[in-house]
Amino acid sequence: MDILAGLIQTAFLAGGVLALAALGEVLAERVGVVNLGVEGLIALGAMSAVATVVGTGSPWLGLMVALLVGLGAGMVFATATVLIRANQVLCGLALTYIGTGMAATLGKPFSGSPVPATFDDIQIPILSDLPFFGRAFFSHNILVYVIFLALPLALHYLMFYTRHGLNMRAVGENPAAADAAGIPVMKMRFWYTSLGASLAAGAGAYLTLSFVPSWSEGVVAGRGWIAVALVIFAGFRPVNAVLAGLLFGFVTALGFVGQARNWPVAASILSMLPYLGTMALMIVPVITWQRMRRLMAAPEGITQPYFRDQR
C-alpha cells in the first residue's frame, strides 16, 4: 500500500512535465498547427529556469522567465509556420534542434549542479494526513495542482463551453469556413501556437525546478516527443492529455521503483518503458477500437497552412 502511494506520488511528479507540454500542444493542434519543437522548447525552458534561479534564487521568477522564453520562441515558430506558412514539420524539427542546441550551449556553465531553490511540497491541512491518499494526492508542490487540476479544467471549459472555444476549434477544423464566418484565423493560430509553446517551456521549468532539480544536456530525454504522441492518444482533449501524462508518469515511476528495489532488470531496460508504452498507446488503440478513431480524430485542417486567396 505504501509502495502504491509512493508510486502515485511520483507519477504526478514525473507526469507533470508531459501533462503540461501536452496541454500546450493541444492548444496549437486544435487551431491546426503541429508544433514538433516541443522537445527543444522544454530544453530551453528548463535551462532558462535554472539560469534564472541560479541568478536570483526565486523559482517563481524562473518559471516566469521560462514561460516568456517559450512565448518568444513560439512567436518565432508561429511567424514561420502561420504567417509565412512554411512547412510545419521542418520548422518544428528546426525548433527542436535550435532549442536543444542553444540550451546545451548556454546551460554549460551550470550543467550538473543542483538548483539552489525549487518549488516545495505543500502539505494540504487535514487531507495530507489521510492514510494513503494524503501522500498520493495531497502533498505535492503547487504546480502539480495547477497542471493536473486548474489548467485542464479551465482549458476544457474554454474549448468546449464558450463561443471563443467553438471559434478556436473551427479554425483548426476548417479555416476557410471560419474565415468566412469572420473569425480571425491567422491571429487565432498565431497566438494559440505561441501560447502552447510557452506552456511547453513551462514544462521545462517544472522539470528542472521540481522533478529533477538540476540542468544537464540530456535531461529532457525525449519527453517532448512523448508529449506530442500523448496529444494524439488523448484525442486532442485537455483533460485526456493530462490523464495520459499521469499514466506515463506512472510508467516512469514504475521504472524508478524497479531500480530502487533491485528488480532483476537492467536500469536501461526500465528506462525504455515510457517509450515502449508510448509506441503501444499510439498503435494498439487505433487497431482495436475502430469507432474511437473517428471520435478521437485530429482536427481536419491540421498541418495545412491557410491561404485566403486559395479557397
Binding site: G40, G101, I269
Partner: protein, 351 residues
C-alpha cells in the same frame, strides 16, 4: 501608378528554390556568426580555423571523410523515405540497431574475414529494416504517423546499445568502461584511416539516383509519394511500395551503423550514432530528397560537424552545431515557401 503584388504559384520553380536554399544556408551561418560575435568571440578567426583545420591537413580531410560517410547513409535513408512521402525521423535508432546487430555477428560468430564482412553488412541492413518495421506496418495498415513512432524507437535503440555496451557485452579486458571489445574483423581502410564505408556510400547514392530516374519502380515510388490516390487509381501497389521503401530506408541507416561500428570506431559503444541520424534529416531535406544531392549536402554538413569539433575547443559544446543545423533548417523551410511566390507589377488604374 503601378503596385507590386505577390502571387503564389502552386509549384516552386526548381532554380529559385535552389537559390533560396543556398541563401538560407548563408543566412544561417551569418546568424551564427553574429551570435558568436555577440558572445565575445571572433567569428572570422573561428571560421578560418574551421576551414584550415578541416582542409589544411590530410588528418583534417580524413576526419572529414569519416563524418561524411555516416551522413551519406543517414541522408540517403531519410531521402528515400521522403520520396514516398514518409518521414523517417528514426535513422538514429536504425543506425544504432544496425551497429548492434553487426557487432553481435562479429563478436559471437566465428568465420573468415571475407565471409564475415558481408555477413555483418547484411546483419546491419536487416537490423535497420527490423527497427523501422513496426512504424512501417503501423503507418501502412493503421495510418499511425510514422514521424513520431520512428522517433520513439531512437530512444529505445540508444538505451539498448548503452545497456549491452556497459553490461552483457562489456569489454572483458577491463580496460574500457562503456564499450564492447574491439571487433575481430574491420572494414579495410582505403586511404589513411578512411575505410571502404565511404566509397560504398557514394556508390549507393549513385545507384539510388539511377533507380529513381530510370526504373519503373522508381517512377512509381515518386508518383505514389506525390499523389497516393492517383497512384492507387492507376493500379500501383501503393501500400506495398510504402512498406518496401521504408524498409529500404531503415536498411540504409542500419548499414551506416555497421560501417561505423566495424570501420570507424572498431567497437560498439553508447552514443555511437553521434546525432548522425538527426543531421541526416537535414542532409535529405537540403538535398530535396535527391540521392546525388545528398552527396553534396552530406559533405557540407560534415564540414559543419567538423567545425563543431573546433568550436568545442572554444568553450562551446558539440550541441552548438545542432543549433546551427536547426537555424539552417528553419531558414530553408521559409525559403521553400518563399520560392512559391512571384512578384507581379500591375497598373492599378486600368482594371
Amino acid at each position: 501608378m503601378s503596385t507590386i503584388r505577390l502571387q503564389r504559384m502552386p509549384i516552386a520553380p526548381a532554380r529559385i528554390a535552389l537559390v533560396l536554399r543556398l541563401l538560407s544556408v548563408v543566412l544561417a551561418l551569418l546568424t551564427t556568426a553574429i551570435l558568436l560575435w555577440a558572445t565575445g568571440r571572433d567569428p572570422i578567426a573561428l571560421g578560418a580555423k574551421v576551414l584550415s583545420s578541416t582542409f589544411g591537413s590530410s588528418f583534417g580531410l580524413e576526419d572529414l571523410a569519416l563524418l561524411f560517410s555516416p551522413l551519406i547513409y543517414c541522408g540517403l535513408a531519410v531521402a528515400v523515405a521522403l520520396r514516398i512521402g514518409a518521414w523517417n525521423i528514426g535513422a538514429e535508432g536504425q543506425f544504432n540497431f544496425g551497429a548492434f546487430c553487426a557487432t553481435g555477428i562479429a563478436l559471437f560468430v566465428p568465420g573468415p574475414t571475407w565471409l564475415m564482412l558481408p555477413l555483418m553488412a547484411l546483419a546491419g541492413m536487416i537490423g535497420g529494416a527490423l527497427w523501422i518495421l513496426v512504424p512501417t506496418l503501423a503507418r501502412a495498415y493503421a495510418d499511425v504517423s510514422e514521424l513520431i513512432t520512428t522517433l520513439l524507437m531512437n530512444f529505445i535503440a540508444m538505451l539498448l546499445v548503452y545497456w549491452v555496451a556497459t553490461g552483457p557485452w562489456l569489454d572483458p579486458s577491463g580496460m574500457a568502461l562503456a564499450t564492447t571489445a574491439r571487433l575481430p574483423v574491420s572494414v579495410p581502410p582505403i586511404w589513411g584511416i578512411v575505410h571502404w564505408g565511404l566509397p560504398v556510400a557514394v556508390m549507393l547514392a549513385i545507384a539510388l539516383a539511377l533507380v529513381f530516374t530510370y526504373t519503373r519502380w522508381g517512377y512509381e515510388v515518386r508518383i505514389a509519394g506525390a499523389n497516393p490516390g492517383a497512384a492507387a487509381y492507376a493500379g500501383m501497389p501503393v501500400k506495398r511500395q510504402l512498406i518496401a521503401v521504408m524498409l529500404l530506408s531503415g536498411a540504409l541507416a542500419g548499414l551506416g551503423g555497421m560501417m561505423e561500428a566495424a570501420g570507424t570506431v572498431g567497437r560498439l559503444q553508447g552514443g555511437i550514432s553521434n546525432n548522425y541520424g538527426y543531421i541526416g534529416i537535414m542532409v535529405a531535406v537540403l538535398a530535396r530528397a535527391a540521392p546525388l544531392g545528398v552527396l553534396a549536402t552530406a559533405f557540407f554538413m560534415a564540414v559543419i560537424l567538423n567545425g563543431g569539433i573546433v568550436l568545442q575547443s572554444q568553450g562551446l559544446t558539440t550541441h552548438t552545431v545542432l543549433a546551427v543545423t536547426g537555424l539552417i533548417l528553419l531558414y530553408a523551410a521559409i525559403g521553400d515557401e518563399a520560392a512559391h511566390y512571384k512578384i507581379l507589377r500591375n497598373k492599378t488604374g486600368e482594371s
